[in-house]
């Protein structure tokens, strides 16, 4: 009995272009598996952003659009509303990094949540600007060394990191906000359930659904893939606790 194969929503002859050990590949595979399970491939429009997630359209076999840096939620809003006006409802989700979602596009992201736009946002949090070489980002943890904070992040000079999932959970238009991680098998499988729930909330029309995923960046953290996962398990989950912060069905 076949228990695993390449999801149909992944382009069969494409290879991921991420660094070795990067969790982006796992996250994209999970999204593709859920698109398969919910039979959404024909009616999905994915919105990619700038950052390591920029090449999403090379891997996902669904309709994709590239948004300006940080504006993925605004672009997704337009797509969703325009198709709804034509009575041709589409499943729209954004796939962004933490720099894109929580720094450059914070206004677009936050106001999409406040308006309760019926879209899903997936934010990959690797605590730096990975594609441009590991600069200090909005989610860089206190004391973390990056190329633009060689002595480590300090509160006096750089301020404090943003806890995106908690902030989005405070918005009244949000239907679902959760944080998940990809450092071991158990968490990968629970991340899949969380993304699936977020997708189902959009299908049911409940409002803005959001998943923040703690992901490793072995190249810029200068750690092996295994040690990167240990760092997430031992350090990052203490700063960014995992869990569901808002769920309109259970609140």
């Amino acid at each position: 009995m076949q228990v695993f194969n390449i999801p149909r929503a992944i382009k069969q002859n494409s290879n991921f272009t991420f660094c070795p050990g990067c969790d982006h590949g796992v996250a994209i595979r999970l999204v593709a598996q859920i698109i398969d399970e919910l039979k959404l491939q024909e009616k999905t429009i994915a919105v990619a952003s700038s950052g390591c997630s920029v090449l999403l359209y090379d891997f996902l076999d669904v309709d994709c659009i590239e948004s300006p840096h940080g504006r993925a939620c605004a672009v997704a809003t337009g797509i969703k509303r325009a198709h709804r006006a034509l009575n041709n409802d589409r499943f729209v989700f954004t796939y962004q990094g933490d720099g894109d979602f929580a720094s450059i596009g914070l206004a677009e992201s936050m106001h999409s949540a406040l308006r309760g736009e019926n879209i899903t946002a997936i934010c990959i949090n690797n605590t730096n600007y990975g594609m441009t070489g590991g600069q200090l980002g909005p989610t860089t943890t206190m004391g973390q060394i990056t190329t633009t904070s060689p002595d480590g992040r300090n509160a006096h000079y750089h301020g404090f990191p943003i806890k995106t999932a908690e902030q989005i959970a405070l918005c009244e238009g949000t239907s679902f906000s959760a944080r998940a991680a990809l450092y071991d098998v158990k968490n990968i499988l629970s991340t899949k359930n969380i993304i699936k729930k977020a997708f189902q909330y959009q299908i049911e029309g409940l409002g803005f659904s959001f998943v923040e995923i703690l992901s490793s960046c072995p190249t810029n953290w200068k750690l092996s893939p295994k040690d990167s996962h240990l760092k997430i398990q031992n350090e990052l989950t203490k700063v960014y606790p995992l869990g569901i912060f808002k769920d309109v069905k259970n609140d």
Binding site: N5, F16, P20, D23, G25, V185
Partner: protein, 71 residues
Amino acid sequence: MSYIKLNKNKCKSCYLCIDACPKNLIKKSNEIGQTGEYTVEFKDDENLCLGCGVCAVVCPEIAITEVYKDE
């Protein structure tokens, strides 16, 4: 018989599957892969593979393309 199919051309030698396999059936091979490091190989001479698919779950490159489980 449970087994996996592994595409060495996709392997980027992160070795996450080596740590994940509960039966230690995945090891470094002698072939150099696309990143200049040794790729991994699957060797199961004694039919120990459980077909649990854990290796496929952790692989970021979908280099483990198929997993078959004995019924």
